[in-house]
């Protein structure tokens, strides 16, 4: 008997939240409009009031809202993160998504009745690490780092007493999440500290011979010929030169689509599927959520039906990423 996987959908704005709920998302995840969450982009995220309204909207439709407070609080300045946890709990968030040990400890102590999930940013990639967070802070679910194969995820379930949530679609970190300082090395903007990666504020395009270079800070990330579509220069999806050879050494400008693996993920014991993309617009969210809703429901019936998400990958290649061992 197949199971119906929970679909966890991104929202960077109240409009996206409503779109995700209307399109059949089981859960919407979001963050506050500050450095306490890992998508701290200009013009994105929620005020306390917007969270309150979003919770009402989602709950009225039978959907849930998870609040990501998943950067690492700054030494000597814990208050903004503590306030974020307090406010999310007070307003009735269905779960907090946390990465920092100190913050998880704070949440467990002050809000024991609010569900706590472990963010992918905690990089808990093995049973012992996951069980540590379970025993220490009562974590009920772990969002798995994008480093594990499906068989590894299946084995993991034999050894942990925690639900798992895995990324199914969207941007793809090729480095272990929460353990990557590439962006801060090039731009000063850190995923862990500031909730940003390869921030737009540091991107510019400069002519270089007959090509256009996309620069992140002072470093060229890629080059394009006139008329060629320039993708967003995320550091780890850039083209670099090693040993005289030019290549997309870390990863091609590709995005994750694991829709074809839904039966395997069900079999592996996964509870929930996460869609990346809180920085995306409402139309994108609506389309991805409804396609994946269909795919998840089909998989629950035992139908093998690949979701048609090809139009959404912006002409980029798709990959199943680390879920297949050959990726390594």
């Amino acid at each position: 008997m197949s199971r119906r996987l929970e679909l966890v959908c991104p929202a960077g704005t109240p409009a996206s939240l409503r779109a995700a709920v209307d399109a059949g998302g089981d859960v919407v995840y979001l963050g506050f409009r500050d450095e306490t969450n890992a998508r701290n982009f200009p013009g994105l995220n929620f005020s306390r009031k917007e969270l309150e309204e979003g919770l009402d909207y989602a709950h009225a439709a039978g959907a849930h809202v998870y609040v990501a407070i998943n950067t690492f609080p700054e030494a000597g300045n814990l208050a903004p993160w503590h306030r974020a946890v307090d406010d999310a709990a007070r307003l009735g968030a269905d779960a907090l998504i946390l990465a920092d040990i100190g913050l998880a400890s704070y949440a467990a102590e002050h809000h024991p009745d609010t569900r706590r999930h472990l963010s992918v940013q905690a990089s808990a990639s093995n049973p012992r690490a996951i069980s540590f967070y379970r025993e220490a802070f009562g974590i009920s679910r772990v969002v798995l780092p994008r480093v594990l194969t499906v068989p590894e995820i299946k084995r993991l379930h034999d050894e942990i007493d925690v639900e798992t949530e895995v990324f199914v679609f969207g941007g793809l970190c090729v480095m272990a999440e929460g353990r990557c300082a590439l962006s801060s090395y090039a731009t000063g903007g850190s995923p862990n500290i500031n909730g940003v990666c390869s921030p737009a504020s540091h991107i510019r395009y400069v002519e270089h011979g007959d090509q256009m270079l996309s620069m992140l800070g002072k470093f060229a990330i890629n080059a394009f010929s006139p008329g060629e579509k320039a993708g967003y220069p995320t550091l780890c999806k850039g083209r670099f030169v090693a040993g005289g050879r030019t290549s997309y050494l870390f990863e091609e400008p590709t995005s994750l689509n694991a829709a074809e693996l839904l039966p395997d993920l069900i079999d592996a014991g996964v509870t929930a599927l996460k869609i990346e993309g809180r920085q995306r617009g409402r139309a994108y969210v609506a389309q991805v959520v409804s396609e994946l809703r269909r795919a998840v429901d089909a998989a629950a019936r035992g139908d093998v039906s690949e979701a048609d998400l090809s139009a959404l990958a912006e002409g980029q290649a798709r990959t199943t990423g680390a879920y297949r061992k050959t990726w390594r």
Partner: protein, 307 residues
């Protein structure tokens, strides 16, 4: 200054895949020549490399201890499968009284309730996490490399023993994917251990020819060599007593002597840095993280001296 306050120097674990004999001889040289107090030993980057150094480990530990060095056993930074987990368990089981450094939360869990060290691959960004880990048994914490000096100062103000990564290419990222293998058209499983060809990592340049990063198997490092020799005085003022030097192919005993001479007040940082620069060849120096800026930047005394 009391003995308690004396600054301590440490060598972090060799991050690169050096030939086993070279690895052993490096530590023999350190035992004989380098004025460091602590030496961290063990494979941190890739479990596949661990069997190569294992046969030399007992001899190296013995030589370092005979030379009066504290030996700490370091463990893997990224643990994904049973082989990785077994390696960490083996190190802890065989520690025989030596301190063990945890570089993943799974090792933190295994070491609970006994004295241990937290390595720079565990995310300790604030006092809440630091206090939790101290209560769990951590008696020393080497902070993540991207922390600004301001945060380092806050963390050093407590009662934890804080160690700062003060020299060497910055370990910036780790992945399930092996980039050394990928560069050579191989998979991680069939990697042929090609990471052993680059003693300080494989240089990665941008399309317009700027040096940027360095590959070391599943790890990505900075191309620049972090160097906080110009900030030692500031950090001593913040209460930091421990400084970590990350091994490279140059004469690391000379690098250690340069740091020691500045810590002892016997040399000026700018002068001592000339010795260091001679050991790292073309690698530019960086200390931007300490100043809360991009990691690659060079600020402070060394930058002023270069102008």
């Amino acid at each position: 200054m009391s003995k308690e306050d004396a600054a301590r120097l440490a060598f972090g674990p060799v991050l690169f895949n050096w030939a086993p004999e070279r690895w052993r001889d490096f530590y023999f040289h350190i035992a004989d020549e380098a004025p460091v107090d602590t030496v961290y030993l063990g494979e941190v980057v890739c479990a596949k490399r661990a069997p190569f150094i294992a046969p030399h480990l007992p001899t190296v530990i013995e030589r370092l201890q005979a030379a009066g060095k504290e030996v700490v056993l370091s463990t893997l930074a990224l643990i994904m499968d049973r082989r990785d987990a077994a390696l960490v368990q083996d190190v802890i089981d065989a520690a025989d009284g030596l301190l063990v450094e945890a570089n993943d939360i799974s090792a933190v869990a295994l070491l609970a309730g006994r004295p241990h060290v937290i390595g720079p691959f565990v995310n300790v960004y604030n006092e809440g996490t630091l206090q939790y880990l101290q209560a769990n048994g951590a008696e020393r914490v080497c902070l993540p490399v991207e922390l600004p000096g301001r945060s380092i100062g806050h963390l050093a103000a407590g009662d934890a023993e804080i160690e700062v990564f003060a020299f060497g290419r910055l370990p910036l990222a780790i992945s399930a994917r092996c980039y050394h293998a990928r560069h050579h058209g191989l998979s991680k499983d069939g990697c042929q251990f090609v990471c052993d060809r680059d003693a300080d990592g494989l240089d990665l340049e941008t399309l317009d020819g700027q040096s940027f990063l360095a590959l070391n198997g599943v790890q990505t490092l900075s191309h620049s060599c972090a160097n906080l020799i110009g900030e030692l005085d500031t950090m001593r003022g913040q209460g930091i007593r421990r400084f970590r030097l990350s091994p490279h192919s140059g004469d690391m005993a000379a690098v250690a002597r340069a740091f020691r001479s500045v810590l002892d007040g016997d040399a000026d940082p700018v002068d001592a840095n000339e010795v260091i620069q001679a050991q790292v060849g073309a690698m530019p120096m960086s200390n931007g993280y300490f100043f809360g800026e991009e990691g690659y930047r060079l600020r402070g005394l060394l930058a002023n001296a270069a102008e």
